[in-house]
């Protein structure tokens, strides 16, 4: 063997040996945390509930662990004591907070998430109507849910086709929380007949959970948040104006229930008067008619026109109603404050100042609805 060969060989051997310099973990020895629930219990302590995923040679499975502690890390260590695995947080997909804890403020728990580079930014955050433990314990009930964490995660994924509510990732929540003049929102889970469902939209004042909006308002918020495509929504219209287009028998209903699919929806809010703090929000909607609760002849252009204006009216009313609700508890998830700040030359707007201004703002909603397809009778 020549000197050259020797040298190459040494290098190759080094290459293999040096690999062991790096600490490694075996996946079979790890409990991969997929979901974490956090609740406040007495004496400022917190209870963490983990759904962990185990890789066994025979079968991979999920199970629940709980631990108490003063900090999240402490709770994890406490839970770890009850398991033969090392709990690894780098694949948490969902964080669930109990409502009591959320009312006290989420900041201390979010701070940890931001500080630990091991924890992904892409996980979803959510609130439990009761405690996080209540929901995650459904894991032990069996039934059709094999992995409750996965289930909740999928519920969130399925109920939003785009990157909008209820898909609130840690990074979006954190950004909204720290932005001036806009408050974050989160989905609220509630257990109904042993099945968790998203039943409301949690409203925040800074990091404190202070109230709910009904789930029907989801579409209103999402429209203002981003360009919306391919989303369904229902509207109940007053029946009276449609009476003359009625075909067939008249029913008892006073309302005409309709269902639409949004093809394209976009919104733009602008500040029109800075001293009066008044805004204008233009919303453009291209929709498809999917369902009508009554037999109405929609072949005539007038009927379509009427339908469009009625939808516009109802949506405007719903927006105004939602705004009143938001003003009442003084929280601004729509972000009118952010628009105000951007126009504020000295950029001196703080969240406190916006809380003083917000209850008195005026918003004018201009909604333009266009029905693109209305379906045919076959």
């Amino acid at each position: 063997m020549t000197y050259k060969h020797m040298r190459t060989l040494t290098l190759i051997v080094c290459m293999f040996l040096l690999v062991s310099c790096i600490p490694h973990k075996k996946i079979e020895d790890l409990g991969i945390i997929t979901t974490r629930g956090t609740d406040a219990i007495e004496d400022d302590r917190i209870r963490s509930t983990f759904i962990i995923f185990e890789f066994n040679p025979e079968k991979t499975s999920s199970r629940v662990l709980t631990g108490d502690g003063k900090t999240l890390k402490g709770a994890r260590i406490n839970a770890n004591a009850a398991s033969n695995f090392e709990l690894a947080p780098s694949k948490i997909q969902l964080e669930l907070y109990g409502s009591k804890l959320a009312q006290k403020g989420l900041s201390p728990y979010l701070d940890l998430l931001g500080r630990d580079s091991n924890i992904p930014d892409t996980m979803y955050l959510s609130i439990s109507k009761t405690t996080a433990n209540d929901i995650l314990m459904l894991q032990n009930k069996g039934g059709f849910i094999e992995d409750i964490g996965r289930f909740l995660h999928d519920v969130i994924e399925e109920s939003s086709t785009q990157e909008v509510f209820p898909k609130v990732t840690f990074s979006t929540f954190f950004t909204t929380l720290f932005d001036t003049g806009v408050d974050p929102i989160l989905p609220v889970f509630e257990v109904i007949d042993d099945t968790p469902k998203i039943t409301a939209i949690a409203l925040f004042q800074d990091d404190q959970y202070i109230g709910d909006l009904p789930m029907e308002d989801k579409i209103l918020l999402n429209l203002l948040e981003a360009k919306i495509r391919e989303q369904l929504f229902d509207v109940s219209l007053p029946f009276k104006p449609f009476a003359k287009y009625l075909v067939g028998k008249k029913s008892e209903n006073k309302e005409l229930n309709t269902s639409f699919r949004i093809l394209k929806g976009k919104a733009k809010s602008t500040l029109i008067n800075k001293d009066e703090v008044s805004f204008k929000t233009d919303i453009k909607l291209d929709i498809d008619l999917l369902e009508l609760s009554e037999q109405i002849s929609i072949k005539e252009p007038d009927a379509i026109k009427l339908l469009e204006t009625e939808v516009e009216k109802v949506l405007t009313k719903r927006y105004q109603k939602m705004l009143e609700q938001l003003k009442e508890i003084n929280t601004d998830p729509i972000g009118y404050g952010a628009i105000y700040r951007a126009k504020d030359k000295n950029s001196a707007l703080t969240n406190e100042k916006w809380r003083e201004l917000f209850p008195d703002i005026k918003v004018e909603y201009n909604i333009k609805v266009k029905i693109k397809h209305h379906g045919e009778h076959f």
């Binding site: 992904p120 892409t122 990732t169 979006t172 954190f174 932005d179 001036t180 700040r341 951007a342 950029s347």
Partner: protein
């Protein structure tokens, strides 16, 4: 030591490679922190600060080229000796070498810190430094052409990293940039000054000059190189400011890396781990070039063989990097280096310019008198 250098054409490179050399020297860990550094001073107008810094850099580069053109074929070490005499010239040369070592150390330890924070919290700095320096030493054992080749290849390997940030781009909130143009000029300039750490690296033009084959074509690749870096810095800072909230940004240690944390694919959950590891392809050629600067400088000034300097410098850096393991110490080092970088890279050529100008004038008048 001769002021003028005669380099055989087969040891020289073509001017076009300067583009890759300069981009590699400028992108170290600076890209990762720039938006925070600049943001502390100029807030939503950070992009303006970076543009200002770019204009400053362009002027300095033109000044440097003017200085170099006054000589036939020499580097900064030769110029300093020609201007200030042997002793002062050598002392100033040593300042350059110390700065190169400091810059190398700051990039290396910052990267080690990133690896420790993101992937291996328990892995000692010594091991990571050793692994990186082994590569650096190995590459530096080749001649200048090998180093240029490495830079060239790694440049193309790392560009894909920038494509990955498409997701945060979609999520940008343009409201973050308003109200525009509210920052006073003094703050804008302070912001521009804080960008200099990320922009430094083009001072190597002073070293590369004699090694270039076609000196006529030198301007274009250099200007393209610095523009490329400036554009990358501009884009990263625009995305980070648009994506993160304004208050949030001041607390983020590496805003650009955090961007990668919010990207996920169905087949890779944590793209940020990959990015941290791939960032080594940016760090290694960067370190190799700084190491080349050190060994080349020492050889030129004191006639010490390159190999000797290389091993001594590597051991010295290894020891320093192993002991530099707290956040605070690295911050402190980076702060000192960025001050030196500002003086040496941005101010010093402006001081040299009139001296060179006057000296050439005197020589000319003497020549005509004779």
């Amino acid at each position: 030591m001769n002021v003028y250098m005669k380099i055989k054409p087969n040891h020289q490179i073509r001017a076009i490679y300067l583009f890759f050399l300069i981009v590699t020297l400028q992108t170290g860990v600076g890209v990762l922190t720039i938006s925070r550094n600049v943001f502390t001073f100029s807030e939503q107008d950070s992009w303006l600060s970076i543009l200002l810094a770019f204009v400053g850099m362009l002027i300095i580069v033109l000044v440097m080229l003017y200085i170099l053109r006054q000589y036939e074929s020499t580097d900064i070490f030769g110029i300093q000796i020609d201007l200030f005499g042997k002793f002062i010239g050598k002392v100033l040369g040593v300042v350059y070498i110390v700065y190169f070592s400091g810059a190398l150390l700051s990039v290396l330890s910052a990267y080690i810190q990133i690896v420790q924070v993101f992937i291996y919290p328990t892995l000692p700095s010594f091991i990571i430094a050793l692994l990186i320096l082994l590569l650096v030493v190995y590459a530096s054992l080749g001649d200048f052409k090998v180093i240029v080749g490495i830079t060239f290849i790694f440049f193309f390997l790392t560009q894909s990293l920038f494509l990955l940030i498409y997701y945060p781009v979609v999520q940008i909130d343009w409201n973050h940039f308003f109200p525009m143009l509210q920052t006073p000029l003094s703050d804008l300039l302070k912001g521009a000054k804080s960008a200099t750490y990320s922009l430094s690296g083009f001072e190597f033009i002073f070293l590369f000059y004699p090694l270039i084959n076609d000196k006529k074509n030198i301007k274009l690749p250099i200007i393209l190189g610095i523009s490329y870096t400036a554009i990358i810095l501009l884009i990263t800072s625009v995305i980070t400011i648009g994506y993160f909230s304004l208050k949030d940004l001041e607390y983020l240690e590496w805003p650009a890396l955090t961007l990668y944390k919010s990207i996920t694919f169905s087949f890779i959950e944590r793209i940020d781990y990959m990015v941290v590891v791939e960032w080594m392809m940016i760090i290694v050629p960067n370190n190799i070039l700084y190491m080349w600067g050190i060994t080349y400088g020492v050889e030129r000034l004191f006639n010490v063989p390159k190999k000797k300097t290389l091993f001594i410098a590597a051991i010295f850096l290894l020891i320093c990097a192993s002991f530099l393991d707290s956040n605070l110490a690295i911050h402190q080092l980076t702060k000192v280096i960025s001050i030196i970088a500002f003086c040496l890279v941005f101010i010093y050529p402006l001081i040299l310019l009139p001296i060179v100008f006057i000296k050439k004038r005197i020589l000319k008048s003497k020549g005509s008198a004779n």
